[in-house]
Amino acid sequence: MLKKITSVLTLFLLLILIFSFNNAAAEKIVIEDYQAELVEIDTPVERIICMSPAMIEILIILGGEEKVVARTEMDADLLSSAQDIPVVGSSSNRPQIEAVLELEPDLIIADTMLSDRNRKVFESFGIDVVVESTSDPDRLNQVIDNFALILDNSEKAEELKAFMSEYEELIENRLAAVEREQRPLVYWEWRGKFRTGTSKATVDPLIDFAGGINIAHDLEGSYPVVSSEFVWEENPDVIIKMASRDDSLADMQNSRNELMNRNALKDTNAVQDERVHIISWDVQNGIFSIIGKLYYAKFFHPDIFADIEPGLIREEMLKRFFEQEEFDIAVYPND
Amino acid sequence: MKMKADKIKFCYQDTAVFDELSLEIEKGKIISLVGPNGIGKSTLIKCLSNIYQADSGFVYLDGKNTLSIEAKELAKELGYVPQTQRNSFSISVYESILLGRKPYFNWKVRQEDKIIVQEILEKLNLQKLAEREVSNLSGGEMQKVAIARSLAQKPSIFLLDEPTSNLDLNHQLEVMNIITELAKEENAAVVMAIHDLNLAARFSDYIFLIAEKGKYISGKAEEVFTEENMEATYGVKVEIVESSKGMLIMPIELSS
């Protein structure tokens, strides 16, 4: 009998405990970030420092623009409204620590370049730190969900995810019937001449998803410089080169001309068939990577995606989620 | 103090420089090592100074094998004076002489050491140079500083390597006078390797001629410096001349 009373009493006490805990935790949210850290955040969050341009985009979509008090350097002219936010460093890797602390943020959002040491420093000042990745395509939806939780705006998040998954499914469905032999060989270039990306580069899954074969997939390292003979021998069907964030149309034109006239590439299928494309970073990272996927898919399989206009989809995205009416060029040639 | 080298052998890169070499030195006496270039005079001096280790044979101090004596204690008995040389980092004359006190203290310079250095400065008439850098001195002055440093070791045996080479007549004489005083006043034994046979003949009690490998001739100057020995050793016909200050060895011509 005594045993029974005790157990009932215990249960009762336990319930009280759970409820009181729940009450206290009503203003707290818990997020598991990309580094598998459980971050407990007091809401509402008022002051955010975001050290990743791609993540600022997501914050803005979710209505958090007012709350971002500082950012790191970003030269994308895409989001003109974000240009006025003060700068506290070049990237997550080298934040100006005292300047960050001086702004007394509630939350710091950074990418994986943030060092463990700096994360510890910020946390020692009572600032919550969330590290996320927008270059990992599998992570993107989780990032949006996490930010939606922080900004308490799940509605917009669902809308954004739906928009992206619609086109992802479209690509997947149309490419389902494409055999491996039908996939074009792709040579992808970034920065200097003959610097490409291997299976460890973030572009590799993108090429694969869009129905191409990355000729550098099996090479060592992540972004090695390869021999011109290697590219010549592989004879790619498509060549893609990344434009810098602040490249003008003329810069992109020059880039393409240089590729078309480069000796080692002259005889490749890509140059012969004029399948050489310059594409901006802006459509390859974060939420705009869906636009990049659409462009890549159309580069690789122009007939299958003849009816798709990635440029227009991008404009729609900018209008709908950023209320932006001015658009720059993301690819060259733009047909 | 008495030094004795017993059948020592020294090899340089597997070839013996000298072999079966025996030598005895007594306090208050000066011995000159003479012989042609490259015969091993400097090497012998270094073997006796505990700089090189003989490959076989031993050196004894008062009958005690030098190998059984601690390096620091040995440094208090053997004062080595090298041929003059300049170094990258120069120190003052005072500090250079103070280095001779190395075997006596580890870090802190004692009052006693300063007094000894001061006495030596005065004795060799170096007071005015005390603050000068050694590398800015003339060859003669540098030689005196090197001797002064060995004096600071308070050794019972001085070993000098070519103390008069590169010196003018004036300095040659000054240095040889200092060396003579070492033997007399300090009652020390002096061994010096020297090229100048006339200086050797005039200032030493004994001559040790390394004629060729394994052939050593020792004795008083008159006994060693004979026309016959000189021709055999140096390949030069000489004439021995008597002067008021002793014998003179005059080279005449190369022997055919």
Binding site: E98, V121 | S88, W107, I115, Q118, Q153
Partner: protein, 359 residues
């Protein structure tokens, strides 16, 4: 009496050296105070001093904010301490290397030891991640120091080997050091190619040295290493003095030259490697600091070693403070500042004393 006049020479020199030492310490304190009160975060001079007294000595009114305490105690102070420790280490090991190798151009940087250590540290990170996956995080600092020291030691062994060759001249030694330096820098660059994104982040410090990552943990590890090494270097300093009269004289004075050279160079390499493991390569400190001290107090290693260390600390702390302030709120790499001063000084030395340096 003349006796007294000359007798005073040693005491006078001694006094001059002690005054120089005290002067360096005084300057270092001034620069430290200056450096600790300057920064992007707006904390008043008064608050900074209050934090220092309150946290370090537990005295004075403790009415400062936790923000001020955090900035001063967790950001600025460890960074300043690391700069001072690194300067002490590089300056004193530079001076002892010069004296032992009898080469005025010797320093951790010119002999390639810093590059060797940086490569060792970087290799420890990259390989350590693969080999010691499980224990790596807990002991990472020590693994990195071990890696740095192994290659620092390897470099000094090669250098010693070159010295022992009869024909090894002063110029040859430095050229060999420069070549080794290039070799190891290439090694670090190679590691950059074969590692992935995550490790690259950790390698950044060895590609461009600096103190911005300073933590108290680094200070706790380095301080005992520094103190023990300095004691050892001071202990052998009188013996090292004897080397200035030539190796043969030193031997005759009862010194085991090989042992002395071994102890001196290995200690200097260890000291260099330890700091490089935390700061990466910062050039010219170990070269400039000893020479300025040699000009002022002469070549007595009993004073020179510690003075060079202090001068190195002063130089590095000044350079790092400048690096923090020149384009504030952004920062310059401290190596840019030290090279701006160090490289012209190096060239000046070559021209001024070229005969004795390249013989």
């Amino acid at each position: 009496m003349q006796k007294i006049g000359s007798e005073n020479y040693y005491d006078r020199a001694f006094k001059k050296r002690m005054i120089f030492l005290l002067f360096l310490i005084f300057l270092l304190v001034i620069v430290t105070i200056f450096s600790i009160t300057l920064g992007v975060a707006s904390i008043t001079f008064g608050d900074t001093i209050k934090v220092l007294f309150g946290e370090l000595f537990g005295i004075g009114s403790q009415d400062y904010s936790s923000f001020s305490r955090g900035i001063v105690m967790n950001l600025r102070l460890p960074r300043i301490a690391l700069a001072i420790i690194t300067g002490l280490a590089l300056g004193s090991s530079g001076s002892i290397m010069q004296s032992i190798l009898k080469n005025p151009l010797a320093s951790p940087y010119t002999l390639g030891i810093a590059s060797g250590s940086a490569f060792g540290a970087a290799a420890a990170i990259v390989l350590g991640d693969v080999i010691f996956k499980t224990i790596f995080t807990a002991y990472s600092s020590w693994v990195i120091i071990l890696g740095a020291f192994s290659f620092g030691l390897l470099t000094i062994l090669i250098i010693n080997l070159i010295v022992s060759l009869k024909e090894g001249s002063s110029a040859m030694l430095i050229l060999a050091g420069v070549a080794l330096g290039y070799l190891f820098s290439a090694g670090v660059s190679f590691l950059r190619y074969v590692t992935d994104h995550e490790q690259l982040r950790e390698l950044a410090i060895w590609l461009m040295g600096g103190f911005y990552q300073a933590e108290w943990r680094d200070i706790f590890i380095l301080t005992p290493i520094l103190i023990l090494s300095l004691i050892l270097l001071l202990k052998i300093s009188w013996d090292v003095n004897a080397l200035s009269a030539g190796e043969e004289v030193a031997q005759n004075l009862g010194i085991d030259i090989r042992k002395l050279r071994r102890i001196g160079t290995v200690t200097a390499a260890f000291l260099t490697s330890s700091v490089v493991a935390f700061t990466g390569i910062i050039g010219f400190v170990g070269l400039v600091a000893p020479h300025i001290c040699r000009m002022i107090i002469g070549n007595d290693n009993r004073f020179l070693t510690i003075s060079s260390g202090l001068a190195g600390a002063l130089f590095l702390l000044g350079a790092d403070t400048a690096a923090r302030l020149i384009i504030s709120p952004a920062e310059l790499p401290v190596g840019i500042i030290t090279s701006f001063f160090g490289a012209p000084f190096f060239i000046y030395m070559l021209i001024k004393k070229r005969r004795s340096y390249w013989s």
